[in-house]
């Protein structure tokens, strides 16, 4: 049913939706890069390069992408729920993952940054594991945005 409703979206929602989806997908890609590079850094010929790439990807790609997808989310939320009614549970799932995800993301980013200067294995691994947890949350949030459970 919600799939049918999704097909009747006003045109004015399209650009915020594009920002939201594209931002989230690029964020997903950036966090994937960070997870894989951090968790494999200890087993490759150029571990410092991978740690640097993980940090820079989170900082230069992940952070702006998060801001874009969050701005897109708020923008479309302001159009879709303008009467102040309670949010449906799928919106709540989105906010929960987004807010907790921001915290996990920042910790992962900070650990990745420290790991570049002090290449200790546990810093990279912890940052990588946090990125994997964040990816799992993003999968759940994306499912909720599509299936829109009540």
């Amino acid at each position: 049913m919600t799939a049918v409703l999704a097909s009747m979206r006003p045109d004015s929602w399209n650009f915020p939706l594009l920002l939201h989806i594209a931002g989230a997908a690029v964020f997903f890609g950036a966090v994937t890069v960070a997870a894989v590079t951090q968790l494999t850094a200890a087993r490759v010929a150029e571990p410092d390069l991978l740690r640097r790439v993980a940090f820079r990807t989170l900082l230069i790609v992940g952070l702006p992408a998060y801001i874009v997808f969050r701005v897109g989310a708020e923008w479309i939320h302001s159009k879709e729920f303008r009467d102040g009614a309670d949010d449906p549970s799928w919106v709540g799932i989105g906010y929960l993952v987004s807010d907790l995800g921001a915290l996990v993301f920042l910790v992962s980013l900070i650990l990745a940054g420290i790991a570049v200067r002090k290449p200790k294995g546990w810093l990279s691994r912890t940052s990588g594991v946090l990125s994997v947890i964040l990816l799992a949350g993003l999968v759940v949030a994306t499912w909720a945005m599509g299936a829109k459970p009540d």
């Binding site: 049913m1 594009l18 989806i21 594209a22 997908a25 890609g29 999968v139 994306t142 299936a147």
Partner: protein
């Protein structure tokens, strides 16, 4: 929630995987831009594998669940202009993406051979990791995928 809601969710997850794969490959291209160091290229092999998994899941998931939705939902038809446009763009992305993958796969194999032989530098590798044919094809893939996303959201003619 009915089956169509699940299909839409899986379609969306597949689209996210496809766009994420483009991001992953862009990071690899930028990080290894004109590198002469074979060991640097081989260090990204596992990330490349994950990128390939995302491409496969994203490509197959978007087409399978997308066509399913177009057939299942009364609001859409397979012969709608925007659906046909998406299918044509998807087919072109598949062809161009395969060419891109073949190009970079050859470069990765070259880097693996150079690394195995202990070669620390290779100008040939640097050329392949720069503005090569595969690079321009990846640029084209990115533009085409963006066009699909715009088509999916705006649904022109619907």
């Amino acid at each position: 929630m009915d089956l169509n809601d699940w299909i839409l969710a899986l379609h969306l997850l597949s689209a996210v995987a496809l766009i994420a794969s483009v991001t992953v490959f862009w990071v690899m291209i930028v990080a290894l831009w004109r590198t002469e160091n074979p060991a640097a290229v081989t260090s990204f092999m596992r990330l490349g594998i994950v990128g390939n998994v995302l491409v496969t899941v994203g490509s197959l998931g978007t087409i399978v669940f997308g066509v399913w939705l177009a057939i299942s939902l009364d609001a859409y038809k397979l012969w709608d202009g925007w659906v046909i446009a998406a299918l044509v763009l998807w087919a072109i992305v598949g062809a161009v993406g395969k060419q891109t993958g073949d190009g970079y796969r050859g470069t990765a194999e070259m880097a693996a051979q150079l690394a195995a032989s202990g070669s620390p530098r290779s100008p040939e590798l640097a050329a392949a990791m720069g503005a090569s044919r595969a690079f321009w094809l990846h640029c084209l893939t990115t533009v085409l995928i963006l066009a699909i996303v715009v088509d999916m959201i705006w649904k022109p003619g619907a």
